[in-house]
Structure formats: C-alpha cells, structure tokens
C-alpha cells in the first residue's frame, strides 16, 4: 500500500451507475416458469404431460357443461334438442330438485318446514363454530334440536316440550347440586330427567298428533339430501359427548370400566358400518321390548352414533395422551377432584389437540350417511339410484345426477375441513 498517485489511474467514475434491472430470465413470469415448471428435463416432461391432461379433461367437460340444457321435461326431449351435439341434460336437476333435496314423499306444501329448520340450523350452529359471536346465541343452539324436531316431524308440540322440560329440570338440578358434589348432581339429574319424561309422556293425550298445528310426517317420508344432513348433524352432535366419555373410560384406572370401553371401541372399529346398518335394519328391533315399534330412522341414528363415537373416542384418547403429564399433576396439586380437573384443565387442552381428528371423523361420518341407501332408505344417493334413474323420463342421465351428488358432498365436506383448518390456526397459541 504505497502512496498512490491519483494521476496514474486512467479513468475514475465520478457518478454512480444506475442499477440495471435483472436479466429477463431472472425475473417475473419467466423466472417463475423456469423455476417451477421447467427446472429440469424431468420437470419439463411432467409439465407437458400435466398440461396435456388438463387440456383433455377440459376438452371433454367444457362443451358438455356449457351446452347443457336446464328446462326440458325428459331425457328424450333433451336428446332431441341437443340433436347429437355434446351437452349435459341438467334439466333432471331442475325438474327433480325437490326430490333430490327432500325425498319423494315429503308433502310439498310442508317444504317450508325443513327450509326453516335449515335456516335455524345455520343460526344455531354459528355460535358453536365462531367463538366471537355473543354467547347468548347459545340459547338458540340449545333450543334448536327441539324446534327442529317439531318442525320436521310435526305432530304434537307436547312431545318436544316434555323432552325440553326434562332437560331443563336436569340442568337446574345439576346447577344446584353439581357444584358441591359432582356425582350427586350428575346421577340426580339423570333420575330427574327420566322422571319428567315418563310423567310427561304419560300425560300426552292419545291422538294428540291428529289435529296438531303442524301435520305429522312419518320418518319413512323423509329423504334426499335432507336425510343426509339430518343423520350427519344428529349423529355427530350425539357422538362427540359419547366419544369423550368412552375416551375417558378407556384412560380410566378402573379395570372394569376400562375393559368395557376397550371392548366396545375395538369391536365397533373392527366391523364395517354396513354391518352395523344391517343390525339397525334387521336385528335391532329384536332387542327392544316386543310391543315397542322403534322407527328405522332412530335405529340408524343409534348405530351410526355408536360407530362414530368409537372413532371419536380414539381421537380424543390421542389428545389426552398427548397432554404432558405435568398438566395432570398440576390439576392434582391444585386439589381439584376428577370431574373438576377434567372439565377445567385436561379436556379443554385435549380437545384442542383433537380438533382436526374430530373434524375428520365428522366429515367421514357425513360421507358415510350415503350408506343408508344400502338398507333402502332414500337419501340423496338412494333417490338417484332408485326413483329417479328408474323413472321413464330420466332413465340414463348418470353423469348429471352423480355429478350433482358429488358436487354437493364436496362443497359441504371441503367447507368443514377448511373450517377446521381455520379453527386450528385460531386456537394455536404459538407454543
């Protein structure tokens, strides 16, 4: 580093050269394409293959969809208008819309009842799904099952009323005594509820349903997508508490209770749902008292609930096992007894971990409600395979109908799984 003579340097830049843009191949779309689609020979081949596949699929479906007819009254008419060109015959959807949604026996003039029940369901579910809504809305959620039952099945309002009063009495009893002594409150509440139901049931006059405000609709008249929704919603909401109870039973250190739960869970998980539905349709009535006629809908609800409860139990057990042991010890050291520890410390955390699993079970259960078509209940799939495809007008429109069913299920199931992912992000506390 000897002394440098400035004069010996031939050229000195006196100003900063402005930044030049990066080369075209290193920026924007081109760079993205090069990195994501054509980074290597294999990748290029894959890209070309994928594009070809997309082209083939679009080429086959797009004219079919956009050429579709929506207003003809039969397949023959549809084919006549299309005259050999490709095009869907969506008219079957518009013409048979009511059957697809409500089944083919639900009285037309009563369609407003399931519709209203559906709207109420949205309101009732909202506070359960979104915690930011005012908690007072939960009252609607609590009332919803009784109102919906009355709306859909009709008949005397006394039946759901008695059921509601039983629950209210049990709840009040538990509020009063459950704080000091959980066991007393819990078992007392069950006894009170049973008492109210049997007394109230005896007081409902014979033939109260005949000239009720809403005409009674028997369960066998329910059908279509409504049936899928009803089965799905009822069974999920019933099987979550049952599943939690089974999971707690399986984790219990009382050998007998643990044994009962393990046998039940493993048995139910080992057999397909169809065999349980067979039990519901041909076998379960043998186990009820001889004079009782238990509705097929109720029998199916019982079996599907037991089925999904076993799966939810395993999910919740995973959540319980994933909690660090310190949480259990902390609850013990605070002097909480078992119900308090579970309710205040263990279950909230365990259920948070189990949310994705529970939602998976719920989605699977909702999809499995289509299986009731096998035991000849006319749900959406049953309607399509039975009355609609067998009718002379629409014999042969497979794609439109099954596409519709697939789309309907996809929207609901995808919606539920997106919700669960949103909930997971929201509940994640960052540790």
């Amino acid at each position: 580093m000897a002394d440098q003579d400035n004069n010996s340097i031939a050229f000195v830049a006196t100003e900063v050269i402005p930044e030049s843009p990066p080369p075209a191949r290193e920026t924007g779309v081109v760079k993205w394409l090069r990195e994501n689609l054509f980074s290597s020979v294999t990748n290029t081949i894959l890209t070309v293959l994928a594009l070809g596949l997309i082209y083939l699929v679009l080429k086959a479906t797009m004219p079919w969809i956009f050429n579709g007819l929506w207003t003809t009254s039969s397949l023959a008419e549809c084919r006549e208008i299309l005259d050999g060109t490709t095009g869907a015959c969506f008219s079957v959807l518009t013409e048979r819309w009511n059957q697809l949604i409500y089944g083919f026996k639900y009285p037309v003039e009563e369609y407003w009842r399931p519709n209203l029940a559906f709207l109420l369901m949205l309101v009732a579910i909202a506070p359960v799904l979104f915690f930011d809504l005012p908690r007072k809305l939960l009252i609607i959620t609590a009332l919803f099952p009784f109102v919906a039952f009355w709306l859909i099945w009709g008949g005397t309002i006394l039946a759901p009323l008695v059921a509601l009063i039983g629950f209210v009495a049990a709840g009040a009893f538990f509020q009063t005594f459950g704080r000091s002594n959980f066991a007393l409150g819990f078992f007392g509440a069950i006894v009170i509820a049973l008492l109210v139901w049997s007394l109230g049931g005896a007081m409902i006059p014979e033939g109260a349903s005949e000239n009720a405000l809403l005409p009674a609709v028997p369960s066998r008249d329910l059908g279509g997508f409504m049936l899928n929704m009803m089965l799905g919603l009822t069974c999920v909401s019933l099987s979550v508490p049952l599943g939690i109870a089974l999971a707690l039973g399986r984790q219990s250190n009382m050998p007998l209770i643990k044994g009962i739960c393990v046998v039940f869970i493993e048995f139910v998980r080992g057999v397909p749902l169809i065999t349980l539905l067979f039990v519901a349709s041909v076998m379960l009535s043998y186990f009820f008292p001889p004079d009782a006629t238990v509705d097929l809908f109720l029998r199916v609800v019982i079996m599907i609930t037991l089925f999904s409860a076993a799966y939810i139990a395993e999910v919740v057990r995973g959540g319980l096992a994933a909690l660090p042991k310190g949480q259990y010890e902390a609850a013990d050291s605070l002097g909480l007894d078992y119900p308090q520890a579970m309710r205040l410390i263990i279950l909230p955390q365990a259920l948070k971990i189990s949310i994705p699993g529970i939602v998976n079970v719920a989605v699977g259960l909702f999809k499995d409600t289509t299986l009731v078509s096998v035991i000849s209940m006319f749900d959406l799939v049953g309607m399509i395979r039975g009355p609609i495809l067998a009718s002379t007008e629409w014999n042969g429109v497979y794609w439109e109908l099954f596409g519709f069913a697939a789309a309907l299920f996809f929207v609901v199931c995808y919606g539920i799984s997106q919700y669960s992912q949103w909930l997971e992000r929201k509940l994640h506390k960052g540790h």
């Binding site: 994928a50 009382m254 041909v282 799939v381 099954f402």
Partner: protein
C-alpha cells in the same frame, strides 16, 4: 418428650364407599357391573321374547342347506346347489381378493400422488392437491357407483364386437373391454407335470419362493463382501438370472399357453373374466383410499427433517439415493401406522360391494342368504365375526412389519 403413636386405626364406614378414593373406584365399578348386567339381561330377555313371539330360534343349520342362487364372480367351484356355507366362503374369498388388489393399487396411487404433491413443479403439485381434495371429500359409495356406471353404461356390449363393421374391437386382439367386464387371456399349461392345474400353479409358486430366498442369500453375501472389502459386487445380473432362468425353463417344460377370449354366441368365452362390479369396486377403492394414503405419505416425507436430506447430499449421494437410503427409511416409520388403518379401511369399505352386486361376503351371507333364510341374527353375527377377524389379522401382520422397521434404540 414426644412419643410417636400410630394414628388411630379407622374402622370401615359406609360413607367411605363414596368419599374415600381407595374404595370409591370399587363402588363405581360395582355400579357399572350391575348396570351392564341389567342391560344385558334386559336386551337378552327382549330378544328371547321377540324370538318366541316370531316363532324363531337361533340355529346355524341353514348353512348346510342348498343356497339356490348363482354367483358369477367366484374363485372356487360353486353352483346354485352348493350350500349357504359355500356361498359364504365364495364371498369371503371375493372380499379378500378385492381387498388385496385394492390395497396394492391404492398404495401405488397414494405413493405416486404423495411424492408428486411435494414436487417443485407447480402444475403437478397443484394437480395432485386437486386429486386428493376431490377424492377425499366425496363419499366412496358415489365413486363406486360412478365407476360402475361407466363400466356398464358407457362400455360397448359384446354384440358391438360382432360383424365386419364392428363399432368396437379388442385391444391387441387379446383384451376385450365390454360392459359385462374385462376379458383377459388366461395362462394354462399344455403338458403340466401332474395333470392338475392347481398343482402346477403350486409348483410355479414354489419356484418363485425359491428364487426369492436365493436372491436374498446372494444379497446378504454381497453385503458381507462389502463390509469386508468396501466394494459391493454387482448382483443385478445374478439376481436376474436366478429369477428368470428357472422360471423360463419351468414354463418351457410345462408348456405355457394362453387362452385368448373369443366372441362366441352372445358373449365372450375363454380367458379370465374380470367382472364390472369387481373392477368398479377395485378401482374406486384404490383411487379413494389412494388420496388418503397420499396425505399420509406427504406427511411422512415432510416429517423427515430437512437436515437429513442436506446431510445426505453433503455426503455426495445423488438425489435418487438420498430418497432411497435416507429419506424413505425414516419416512416409512411415520407412514406405516396410518397405512395400516387405511388397509383396514379398504377391507371394511369393500363391504360396499353390495351396492354394485359384487358377490363379497356382505352380498352373499349378509345379502341373499339373509333375505332367503330370514336368519338375520345369525348372518349378521357371522358377518361381524369375519370382519373382526380380518381386521385383527391385518393389524397384527402390519404391526409385526412396523416393529421390524422401528428405530432400534437402546
């Protein structure tokens, strides 16, 4: 001075059954036992009363009676005069067949889709995401029916293969895709060693097992040599020879020939017929479960920490070897447990065969036999017993495998 005295010995009081944690669990269990016994008694009593009222009894004698119905897809000899028990056995074999086939193909689909979903090719990974989401969110029953509809309503009937200007033709003159099923050539032996087709196939199987053990021995030797000298001898050609030479020789001796399906009368004759219901069930279960397996595979691969890949690359392994030697063995430990439950799901979902008329155990024993004999309780119980056994066996076998790939720790 203080003296230590024992606390006064508490005598047992009745309230301790509720308030003392030592006895409380006994109380609860006693209550549970009584409740369970009461429930069983109540249900059993109802059952007995109902059966008596209906004039029924529990008996499995009907299994020996002639079934009186035909089954078109079967692996063993069966005709309508065979017993219900034999029909059930046909059903069991059919269930196992479709479950096995679907497990294999679902794994292939799932692994391909799962790996491609992690591809850095944007289009491919998005396509795979769409595949997974679409198939996971639509009931498998709808997929089975859709594919069955394609098989029966869109494929050409056998008569369209007839005549000089037939609208359909056989692929390579070997395979026929019709609305009744797919007909493929059937291998048979012209001069078998024992004159019995089954025995000949047993010989083929024995040779294959022998080759497998031989290649294992060769590979073990190669590993030993590698451990001693550091150079792994090339075993590819030896292994190929072990597999091919005995096999080709055997085929030559026994005179392998193919029975090609031919259009005779109103239908194809000869060859192996793979019925439409079987294909629908097989393919639908494969793509549906494949979507779930794809998610398991993706989660498994992502669970392997990135440092492992980088370390392997830093050692100079090529991407191919990084995957085979470093990533996959670790990912398998995460993938296999959920894979077991997917296999169980396939086995259980194969009961949906009843929706398309594939004669699996649910369709024979739980369907036609149940309806013909009215023996609901016996049939459903046998059905459950079969599925329980199958589930147990699958999970046992897979747990053994799982234990063998488990991380060996101290």
């Amino acid at each position: 001075m203080t003296t230590l005295t024992d606390p006064p010995k508490e005598s047992f009081r009745l309230s301790m059954l509720i308030n003392d944690t030592r006895y409380r669990s006994l109380t609860f269990q006693a209550i549970a036992a009584i409740a369970l016994a009461l429930a069983i008694f109540y249900l059993g009593n109802n059952l007995i009363q109902n059966l008596r009222a209906a004039g029924l009894n529990i008996s499995y004698d009907f299994l020996g009676d002639p079934a009186g119905y035909d089954i078109n897809q079967r692996l063993i000899e069966y005709d309508s005069q065979s017993s219900h028990a034999r029909a059930a056995l046909v059903g069991v074999l059919n269930t196992l067949l479709v479950a096995f086939l679907a497990c294999v193909t679902a794994t292939i689909f799932g692994v391909i889709a799962g790996v491609l979903r992690l591809s850095n090719n944007w289009i491919v990974s998005k396509l795979m995401a769409i595949y997974v989401e679409i198939f996971r969110n639509i009931p498998v029953l709808i997929w089975i029916i859709i594919i069955f509809t394609i098989m029966t309503a869109v494929m050409p009937g056998p008569r369209e293969f007839r005549g000089d200007n037939a609208t359909s033709s056989m692929v390579f003159d070997l395979f026929a895709f019709t609305n009744r099923g797919v007909y493929v050539p059937m291998p048979f032996f012209e001069n078998g060693l024992f004159g019995n087709a089954v025995l000949n196939w047993v010989v083929v199987l024995a040779v294959a097992i022998g080759s497998w053990f031989a290649t294992r021995a060769v590979n073990a030797r190669a590993t030993e040599t590698q451990a001693q000298t550091g150079v792994r001898p090339n075993t590819l050609w030896i292994n190929l020879a072990i597999w091919l030479v005995p096999f080709i020789a055997l085929m030559f001796i026994m005179g392998l020939a193919w029975e090609v399906p031919e259009l005779k009368g109103f239908n194809f004759k000869g060859g192996i017929k793979v019925g439409g219901p079987l294909i629908a069930l097989w393919f639908a279960l494969s793509i549906y479960t494949g979507a779930f397996i794809a998610e398991n595979v993706r989660a498994g691969i992502q669970a392997v920490s990135k440092g492992q890949t980088e370390a392997a690359s830093a050692l100079g392994l090529r991407p191919n070897k990084v995957m085979n030697l470093v990533v996959l063995p670790q990912a398998l430990r995460v993938i296999i447990p959920p894979l077991i439950s997917q296999y169980l799901n396939i086995t259980k979902n194969s009961s949906l065969a009843i929706a398309v008329g594939y004669a699996d155990i649910t369709a024979t024993l739980g369907g036609i036999t149940l309806n013909q004999t009215g023996r609901a309780i016996e049939c459903v119980l046998l059905l459950m017993l079969f599925y329980l056994t199958a589930s147990l066996l699958i999970s046992m076998a897979m747990n053994v495998y799982n234990a063998s790939v488990k991380l060996k720790e101290r």
